[in-house]
Symmetry: C2
Subunit: 285 residues, 2 copies
Amino acid sequence: MPDPASLPVQIIDITDPDDERVDDFRDLNSVDRRPDLPALPGGRPGKGLVIAEGVLVVQRMVASRFAPHAFLGVDRRLGELSETLVTTDDPAAVPFYRADADVMAQVVGFHLNRGVLGVARRPAGLDVSAALAGASVVAVLEGVNDHENIGSIFRNAAGLGVDAVLFGSGCADPLYRRCVRVSMGHALLVPLAKLPEWPGELELLAHHGFTTVSLTPDPAVPLLAEAVESVDKVAFLVGAEGPGLSAAAMRASHVRARIPMSRGTDSLNVATAAAIGFYELARSN
Amino acid sequence: MPDPASLPVQIIDITDPDDERVDDFRDLNSVDRRPDLPALPGGRPGKGLVIAEGVLVVQRMVASRFAPHAFLGVDRRLGELSETLVTTDDPAAVPFYRADADVMAQVVGFHLNRGVLGVARRPAGLDVSAALAGASVVAVLEGVNDHENIGSIFRNAAGLGVDAVLFGSGCADPLYRRCVRVSMGHALLVPLAKLPEWPGELELLAHHGFTTVSLTPDPAVPLLAEAVESVDKVAFLVGAEGPGLSAAAMRASHVRARIPMSRGTDSLNVATAAAIGFYELARSN
């Protein structure tokens, strides 16, 4: 492990938790003030940042289109990240704010086990056509408002070869810190885009040659394996646990399909159902 | 909804949080004293109880081989459960301790959103042969020490038609409250058994006609779909995230198989990997 002091990284020691230079990492659990709230025009005063937490996720942020403009961490994590830090575009221009665990806890608002954070500005969102370029399997979410489920979907998408994740109406923020953490950083790497006109914009997917497949527990629809047997490019629609997909979304999709489920049990967790859909495609390619 | 007062249920109002009659629900988050610790011979002073939390899970406990001997809950949940309670063997003999949310929080040790608990004694564990009777797909866990993952595996097992869950070495307690809750009560319904001689007892599975299949991310082994193509009864072995299955467990199994994964990504969550294994079997039946 190289000595951090010998690296072209700008290390700044923070001893005062009120230091304004670390404001982008302040009060991460605050509902109203956390820095990783999206910047909404005329809405909440979000700073529009993205926070990566822990060595692995910070490494993935550095590798992603989200270019970090600062880090905050304890000395040990600086050591672990030193080789990653020099791969940023201009290491000397991106400060690493070094603090002890107590000062860091006071800034962040809680004790952070993972010991290091990176912060980036949110770039402009991809438009759907950009996210679909070269894609053959995509996931489309509707009403998934649980950050852990969205994070798991990104992790499963990355693992099982899904090319993009698209967001219909009613979903939670995929770039919130907890979502990014649960995704193991894949929320920063897998292309994502919003479909503001929902479900009308599903037509755009059809236009790009995708067969849209709605996953539903309805026992009257064909099995997933049959539904995707001879399709080329597939978009899997999944809805939140409980309500599932809206009738409008199901009507707007080409096919409905189900996972073979035992009678009398609850539907699967949405991230698990999505993973099974992704697997069904991956197994036949 | 029938009036609880008209039901043959023994309702006992609890106003003193120190009332000894609710000791089986006391300090649920205590590491040492929680009542749902297994009773270990000569070991920790566990009471050997199982706790069901929330209306749905309590309903499933009543339907399971875990016969509740008491309930603690707020009046509203008593109303919601009234039809379930009269289906217990002898409703008048099983007290429902009714308390307000504050008293309940003082007993339990935290504010319990779900508002109702059931408690049962742990019956003697099933032996492996009993758990395997009539089974054609079983899951076998090694080193899975995360309660949420075990709970998810039970939920996925129930949903995807898995007949039993078996526990090799190093797993967390599948009957701990959080596991039962995440499983949506299926940890009480899906047969489970321990394999104390690990991995030697995998031979017992072979003796019962099961092909033992170790899931591994190793890219050199056959794909899951090929590995299970012509097998009759299957036991899926899964290990903890990170370490995976031990070399000894893999050697003791008949086949190794992998889920097709993208290069350079992390392995899937263990419950997700298991769900994909269960699905692969369910899709071809």
